[in-house]
Symmetry: C2
Subunit: 426 residues, 2 copies
């Protein structure tokens, strides 16, 4: 659909139709047994393998349009579907098929004094809307996770990937039809008109939750404007605190890994905190490692008193997610100041302590108010695969519903079930 | 504060201050150990007992103002603090003290292939805002639940109960101070200006979740306008479906109890569904019971073909929460039509099936999309006490975060904890 005079009305009607179809399809997928859902996942994966050449051809249209439209090299790279990426897309779907089905699981079923049995049953959320940018592999990945968790999905990818996404959507529809599921279980929005996103954010009657995946600007805008509940992840300003009771060997190893294993990820350390009592002992060795790796260091005054070649950090540095080879360093009095700094300047994402002291480790775990809190481990571990969730559809820095890496379980809810034998309330 | 020309600015500043104090206090209560929290609950309960006469004196001011202002008898009744209500208020706090402390509980802690241990720790939500009407006992009850779950609370009661609520607030502050907790852990908003509610709904930076308790109008307005996430309960349009494989004795017993045990509660049955094959067998006996009890019956055409004295139901009846001795009755083809009716017209609250058929009971449990789904039990059982949650701070018909009766657990979140020994990601 083009941006004609009446396109807003067209888009409203188009999205209303998408929403209505999703609501119908949610009962179909919500009832589907595990074998049917896994069959669909395998059929989609097989079709992606079989249609690899078609997918690359459609992808090349996006790449050409992207080049002509001036996309930068990094964006073009993310957009490209190589043979390897296609193979890992279908492999990802087969892995989702191999995960246990969360739906229908009954827990805590116990007799109550009144005679009734009360328990909880895990159920789908209903309809999940996913709004994402450039990488077309999200289309297959998000579709697979929503489907396995018994949800209908409305996927809205970036306009730069429209041809790739529609080609993947065709493989998904094929797979759904193969096992007799409604093709509306996964709908990939077919218009590049930005009004479609705005429309999705108003669709409280048909969409149960929206998950935005992409840059901070996109996520902020969506969570500000959405009338539909949003599971979101904003900043990742992660910390490692080296306590005065730290084992320096572990401190250097963990802090170095937390910063340098990858720079652009949300669970990368952005600020290092060091207890004053050990700053002069641990910083020279650690800073040398960072400098060898080409990491720019920005320190507080007490840091620079020990390491005078380090640049001066400003107040703004404590609140900045660099996503780059830059690290801010602050020397603090001890664990109280460290916890206070993290709870004030952090983003409630992932924070770690290095200490051999039992009491301080225990306090840090309880008092740091972040979605992941670690002792003696690199912040880079904070993701669904390393946590054993089997899959990840993003990470939540909210506290309601899902917190931390969101696996299949985060795409579900629980209802109460009651089993009786004619029981009544007196 | 009166409604003077600059009252909006006053209210903004006042509520900003309340929010800032709550944010400071949340760390205090979040860290508090179980003994301290239980000590505070007992101290508050003791103070309510000791100050019973003062509380009744303040309450009588509200009652007089209410009478002068034209409050109806039902509202005046809800507003009154009798000796018995005061005793059950302090008793309720002592019961909350006796519940297990949910905070700090670590579950699912297991080793991962990488060598790290990953688990979940239950943590407070932070700051909870509660907006409620008339009954002053909610002040003590909500304060107790929030406190036990490690949260700071901002309570905003109805203007008609302002003197009673402030007197209870004084007992709460006394109890908090007794055990050395910040008095800002529970703040009861001290202005009757309605702008205070509007202000609370914007306070995303200081309030983590808002729970409205009161009439449907209040809850709808709050959930529509709030920028802060809301845990809410709207309608309770509950169903009992009598299947063609029902044991009639159980059917009559459960359906009668579900409607008549109390009329004004959200878990009361509003629509009875009966399979056509047994309508002529079960309806005469059941309707006689309802008519003896003075329940007005409104039936579909097929119901009236069996019971011609029953009034005609309109389409609107299927979507109405009567909260009164009125019952709509619909004869349906069988379980498919029953599930379809419930998922279309219900409010996702509580629905029950009466059947001796295993396969249909199992299907009903899975396919009815409501917060509580029951077999052979009265819908009236749907509450936190009967479910063994120990306490209830409302019931959620939402799917995200908490669904169904909300106990202490619904006022908490879980974070991931990771224990390592210098582990890094390769």
């Amino acid at each position: 659909m083009g941006a004609t005079a009446d396109s807003v009305i067209d888009i409203q009607a188009y999205m209303k139709n998408v929403g209505d179809r999703a609501v119908s399809a949610r009962y179909d997928i919500g009832r589907a047994d595990s074998g049917t859902k896994n069959g669909a996942l395998h059929a989609i994966a097989d079709q992606i393998d079989a249609k690899a050449e078609d997918l690359k051809r459609e992808n090349s249209k996006d790449l050409e349009a992207g080049k002509a439209g001036g996309l930068d090299t990094a964006m073009l790279d993310r957009l490209e579907l190589t043979d390897q990426r296609l193979a890992s897309m279908s492999e990802g779907l087969r892995q989702i098929a191999s995960l246990p089905d969360p739906i229908g699981e009954i827990t805590d079923l116990a007799y109550r004094p009144s005679g009734i049995q009360v328990g909880r049953m895990r159920v789908p959320l209903g309809v999940i809307g996913i709004i994402y940018e450039s990488r077309p592999n999200v289309t297959a990945d998000a579709a697979g996770l929503c489907l396995k968790a018994g949800n209908a999905a409305i996927l809205r990818g970036g306009s730069e990937a429209i041809n790739s996404n529609q080609a993947i959507a065709e493989c998904i529809r094929f797979g759904l039809a193969e096992v007799g599921l409604s093709e509306d279980v996964v709908q990939v929005v077919g218009t590049t008109d930005r009004a479609a996103v705005g429309e999705m954010l108003t669709m409280k009657q048909s969409i149960d939750v929206i998950i935005p995946r992409g840059g901070k600007g996109l996520i902020e805008r969506i969570s500000r404007e959405s009338a539909v509940p949003v599971i979101k992840h904003l900043d990742g300003i992660c910390h490692v605190y080296i306590d005065d009771d730290a084992d320096f060997r572990k401190a250097v190893k963990v802090a170095f890994n937390a910063k340098t294993q990858r720079y652009g990820t949300c669970n990368t350390m952005e600020t290092l905190l060091v207890a004053e009592a050990v700053a002069a002992d641990v910083l020279p060795d650690l800073c040398a490692h960072f400098e060898n790796e080409g990491v720019e260091l920005r320190g507080c005054d007490r840091t620079r008193a020990v390491m005078d070649e380090v640049n001066a950090a400003s107040e703004a540095d404590w609140d900045t997610e660099y996503l780059a080879p830059i690290l801010s360093i602050r020397v603090v009095d001890g664990i109280d100041a460290a916890i206070d700094h993290i709870n004030t300047h952090g983003s409630q994402h992932t924070d770690a302590i290095i200490t051999e002291n039992y009491t301080k480790a225990r306090r840090f775990l309880r008092e740091v108010d972040s979605s992941s809190v670690m002792v003696h481990a690199s912040t880079r571990f904070a993701d669904g695969f390393d946590y054993g969730l089997g899959a990840e559809s993003g990470l939540s820095t909210d506290k309601l519903h899902a917190r931390g890496p969101v696996g299949l379980e985060g795409l579900t809810s629980q209802k109460f079930i009651v089993l009786g034998d004619g029981d009544i309330r007196e």
